[in-house]
Symmetry: C2
Subunit: 324 residues, 2 copies
């Protein structure tokens, strides 16, 4: 494996993937206004973004519909209320978590849905279940990916085995997911090389979904890209769980393909992001996320720290040490 | 040139350099309280930081003392009021800008000063003047560096010539300064290789001073480090002009040498940073800095945009296009 392209070149395998609603929904319980969602959809269409993930396909027997906004479930009629028949070049995605979905009940045949892609999110120890789910969706006519979460906790051996199993499936891409924001660029390049070695051999693509705990989400995304990753997850203004994601405005400004245009995203930010912040929504890089990232821990304790409006970082540091 | 060390190794050539007061002084006109400065000094000593830059040696004939805080001038008695004789392992630095200093009047012989290092900041077209200044300070007994600003605007040929000239001088380090936050990690590695090739041959070291316009200050710092850069500039909470700098808390948490300890910096942040923000000081990554960085322009227009509390990013984008 080696470097793919240069800072000047256009790589036609690249797909910019907007995950604002799905990952951002973890910040506000999916409580986005229809205007926000509609404007984001239009901004993405105009920006040349390739995929937009609207939300999860969560099992309503496990999660009460009254406890969440509609994009936790992403029902077909709610989608169509925003996109109609989606007569655009923007493809629509939903995410299905291993162990939290009822695909047989909740996924329609592709011919009856405006959804284009189902992404299956899994930890490394549930890869066989993830492959089953992806194959089921593939049979129904969807594009599929498998997204391996908490990659910083996966051993090289397990990861190779996972990539070999997935290579035999029909998924079109396999994602590196740095859920904890724990991976440094030097290590990210090694992980990307391992992925690309397997996905290229199997005629598939590699994806990258980074978190910003150590201000490395954008850097890790473009480093994985430079090693051959094609599917690039990003969110508007970094909106996403905890420290947030790779900001889509940085990514679009970076990419050389003239089909991408950051201006419609800037306009969306102008209109919507100050309001979200004024309403009290808090996300993005802060010391507590740096610390869980550095300790390679799930961000849940940092999210709790944030919710409780704490700023006693040294005490939080000791609490994390106790969990090691 | 190649990769130096790994994510696990300790590199004893590394020097962590705190530039909080000097670069942060550009945000608040050097208006730091003595308590802030004293606490920062102690936090740096306890964190194992190698150098602390207190401020500029600006010419008081060009800049009225009444218009700035004392760290614009960094007089010996002001320094001693904070550090006494500085009986610690932390070295003390000041910065001298080409064309804005009166060294003959303002720099004492080293035997009369607690300052250890004078860093000369220059654009690529004033390298001979910078070398003169550095040699003058070297003669007086100081450690010296030359910091080449706006590196993203320097041609490869000019840069090679500059590095060759500096190689013949007595400076101990030459800095890459990404003043505009315009450099991507891939390019940063190339620049670092060029520097290290020259500095190693001359028995000198390479330094890196990054800005965070594109959320790449930390990434670029550790990428330059991985290619052999030794002097690593950083500031507490990224405090610095415009989008700010590489956060020292990220850098200290990253480094493997057990002499570094992030906890005293976390304690300093807890005590002082919320207050600076509550007092209305604004710095750090935002869309306007992304845009000047991407356009490879000086951040001054983005700083103005910030001061005017504007958020019309699309209009600002057009304004920048007009300046190209």
């Amino acid at each position: 494996m080696g470097k793919k392209g240069s800072l000047m070149s256009v790589r036609h395998d690249i797909k910019v993937f907007d995950a604002t609603l799905r990952d951002g929904g973890l910040v506000n319980n999916f409580g986005f206004s229809d205007e926000f969602v509609k404007d984001l959809y239009e901004a993405n269409v105009n920006a040349g973004v390739d995929y937009m993930e609207f939300g999860y396909k969560a099992d309503c027997d496990m999660f009460a519909k009254s406890d969440f906004g509609k994009w936790k479930f992403t029902d077909e009629e709610d989608l169509r209320a925003i996109v109609g028949n989606n007569d655009t070049d923007l493809k629509i995605s939903v995410m299905a978590d291993v162990g939290r979905t009822n695909l047989k009940r909740d996924i329609l045949p592709k011919s009856e849905s405006v959804i284009d892609m189902v992404r299956v999110a899994t930890y490394i120890n549930t890869i066989p279940a993830a492959i089953n789910m992806a194959e089921y969706c593939h049979e129904l006519g969807y594009e599929t990916t498998i997204n391996i979460m908490a990659i910083s906790n996966a051993s090289e051996g397990d990861l190779r085995q996972a990539l070999e199993l997935i290579s035999e499936s029909n998924v079109q891409a396999v994602y590196i997911v740095d859920s904890y924001g724990a991976v440094y660029p030097e290590r990210m390049r090694e992980i990307a090389d391992l992925y690309v070695e397997h996905t290229e051999a199997a005629g598939k693509l590699t994806g990258i979904h980074a978190h910003n705990n150590q201000q490395l989400a954008f850097a890790n995304t473009i480093e994985a890209l430079s090693r051959g990753a094609s599917y690039l997850d990003a969110t508007v203004s970094s909106l996403g769980r905890g420290a947030g994601n790779c900001p889509i405005e940085l990514l679009l400004a970076f990419l050389q393909n003239p089909k991408y245009n950051v201006v419609s995203i800037l306009r969306f930010i102008e209109k919507h992001i100050p309001k979200l912040k004024a309403d009290g929504l808090v996300w993005g890089y802060d010391i507590q996320y740096l610390l869980t990232g550095r300790f390679n821990q799930h961000p849940s304790s940092a999210i709790e720290f944030t919710k409780n409006k704490r700023s006693d970082y040294t005490r939080f540091y000791s609490e994390l040490l106790d969990k090691e």
